[in-house]
């Protein structure tokens, strides 16, 4: 089925790492929620950057500096179109999604939120969308409130009205990295806007896998990382509504973000450069631009369709094969979730599961997935997590299942 719309065999060939072996077995990479593999064109473009046009940006009047600058700035435009931003000025490059969220916490939130205000978080959030708010909360005596979850790891919106009282900021992930739950972002942002709150969407797990439209989501801020969407490490993106960005004070101070500096003080540069202090991750931004083009070439709708089909296949296969021995956390149906499959197998610790799977070339993550509050709610310490991407296919799922079976034998 999945083969018909999507040539996953051909896509696999774009990713050099997937040709390697681990412990004498072909690698089966199922940890794309942590970081994705990179297609050869992304790797090559960065190599070419260093071999052909490497120069510091924005200030050089010479040829290669102009090339580097314009390629970097073209990526800004590309990214802004990719998420349907209204202007490339709304795209701030950071080092990762975590910095993007912290930027909002240090600038927008620290000028707008005060004692008595409430920040509403979903119980599915990643530490990167929790800890910055806890830091602020303890500084300012701001209340953090949690949207509870249902048994199957979906947000429980039954008491949103009470939850929203005094809320000034809603922080929610579009897709949970721990369970794969797709959250009803638009419904949440609509409700939050009704009470005048601002909405930050953590899109780390959605931008790589779904068509993203910041307007449709009703987001005011949106954060994601390059390395989970076929791009390199070292670059992330904060999108923000232009009017908000323009009113925010700067964050990091230094080169690039100033218009003028005297011994008495400084004036800030225009948005978005106001938020990009110091030499940017130039090669990485350019690499991200190639990654965006790569994903667009395949098509975000096709990607989602492939992943949904494959997830459905995986859920069925694992349930059929292991029955009650294997519990898959999160929503039951593939349509309600991304390609993240978080599971418990008997009472075997996820760390041991992952160690044995590695012996069969299978890469899955074991742990709390940076979601300790969620793990506490689920009543587990950790889970094993297999997460899919464009280069995975049914054969990968079969190898996974066979390897899980071997785990059972050791810890019987």
């Amino acid at each position: 089925m999945t083969g018909s719309i999507f040539e996953s065999e051909k896509i696999k060939e774009d990713f050099p790492l997937l040709e390697r072996e681990v412990n004498g077995k072909p690698i089966v990479y199922l940890d794309s929620a942590a970081t994705s593999q990179k297609p050869i064109e992304v790797i090559d473009r960065m190599t070419d950057y260093y071999k052909q046009i490497n120069a510091n940006v924005h200030r050089g009047a010479y040829h290669i500096a102009e090339l580097a600058t314009s390629e970097m700035e073209e990526t800004r435009t590309k990214v802004s179109r990719f998420i349907n931003a209204s202007s490339e000025k709304e795209i701030v490059f950071t080092k990762n999604a975590t910095e993007a969220i912290n930027l909002v916490a240090y600038t927008w939130a620290r000028t707008q939120l005060n004692e008595g205000d409430v920040i509403l978080l979903s119980s599915l959030e990643h530490h990167s969308n929790i800890v910055p708010w806890q830091q602020l909360s303890s500084e300012r005596n701001i209340e953090i409130r949690w949207i509870p979850i249902t048994q199957d790891g979906q947000l429980d919106l039954s008491s949103m009205d009470e939850l929203l009282a005094d809320v000034k900021l809603l922080c929610v992930s579009a897709v949970s990295n721990a369970l794969g739950t797709i959250n009803p972002v638009k419904q949440l942002t609509d409700a939050a806007h009704q009470v005048g709150a601002i909405c930050l969407v953590d899109a780390c797990q959605s931008v790589p896998h779904f068509k993203t439209d910041v307007a449709e989501l009703g987001a005011d801020f949106l954060a994601f990382s390059g390395h989970k969407m076929c791009g390199p490490t070292g670059v992330g993106v904060l999108w923000g509504r232009l009017d908000l960005l323009e009113k925010m004070p700067p964050f990091l101070g230094g080169g690039e973000m100033i218009l003028n500096v005297t011994s008495d003080g400084f004036t800030t540069n225009e948005v978005p450069w106001k938020f990009e202090a110091g030499t940017p991750p130039i090669a990485e931004i350019i690499g991200l631009g190639v990654a965006v083009s790569y994903l667009e070439k395949i098509g975000m709708e096709a990607i989602r369709e492939h992943e949904q089909n494959l997830t459905s296949y995986a859920l069925d296969l694992l349930n059929d094969r292991f029955g009650d021995d294997l519990i898959i956390h999160g929503p039951g149906a593939a349509v309600e979730r991304s390609g993240v499959i978080s599971f418990s197998y008997r009472d075997i610790h996820p760390h041991d599961i992952s160690q044995v799977l590695d012996q069969y070339g299978v890469c899955v993550r074991a742990g709390h997935h940076c979601c300790k509050p969620l793990m506490a709610l689920l009543g587990v310490n950790a889970t094993a997590r297999a997460s899919l991407y464009i280069y995975n296919d049914e054969s990968d799922i079969k190898v996974l299942a066979d390897a899980i079976n071997e785990v059972g034998k050791i810890f019987s």
């Binding site: 924005h58 200030r59 050089g60 009047a61 500096a65 102009e66 600058t69 314009s70 100033i258 218009l259 003028n260 004036t267 540069n269 450069w273």
Partner: protein, 153 residues
């Protein structure tokens, strides 16, 4: 000077060496705005004296490269004695010329066009679009002037 002919045209070098309308005006009655090019440290001060709808006087002060100086000088020459409306129109057309369109970049032949929208001498600055970093130099004075005549933007 191979390859630089499009940038350093005769008329640009002339305006650079002999800038028109240099100096200051007393504020008030004139209005002054300061512009910075954060990339190279250039600063420009534009003074504008209006009489109703008419730009009676304009002066340029500050430091900058040949392109920013010449562009501001040519701007001053073009807008003096014009109405605000006419000046705004000119700013718009100038910025249009300075924006990096594929067409602008590609046209080997940077010919002066002769329709009613002609920018006259200002056309000489068209070569700047081939050097994206210099566009900010060319538009510095214009943006600053724009801030004066289109306030509250």
């Amino acid at each position: 000077m191979p390859g630089l002919e499009d940038l350093y045209k005769e008329i640009i070098l002339d305006h650079y060496k002999n800038p028109r309308n240099q100096g200051e005006l007393s504020v008030p009655p004139a209005i002054m705005e300061e512009g910075f090019n954060p990339l190279c440290g250039d600063e420009v001060k534009v003074y504008v004296l209006t009489d109703g709808d008419l730009i009676k006087d304009i002066r340029i002060d500050g430091q900058g490269c040949s392109i920013s100086q010449a562009s501001a000088s040519m701007m001053a020459e073009s807008v003096i004695d014009k109405t605000l409306e006419e000046a705004k129109n000119l700013i718009e057309r100038f910025k249009e010329m300075m924006s990096v369109h594929e067409s602008n970049m590609d046209s080997e032949e940077l010919s002066e066009d002769n329709d009613e929208n002609s920018l006259g001498d200002l056309q000489a600055l068209k070569g700047v679009v081939k050097y994206p970093v210099r566009i900010k130099c060319a538009t510095l004075g214009w943006n600053t002037f724009d801030q004066i005549i289109t306030p509250g933007e």
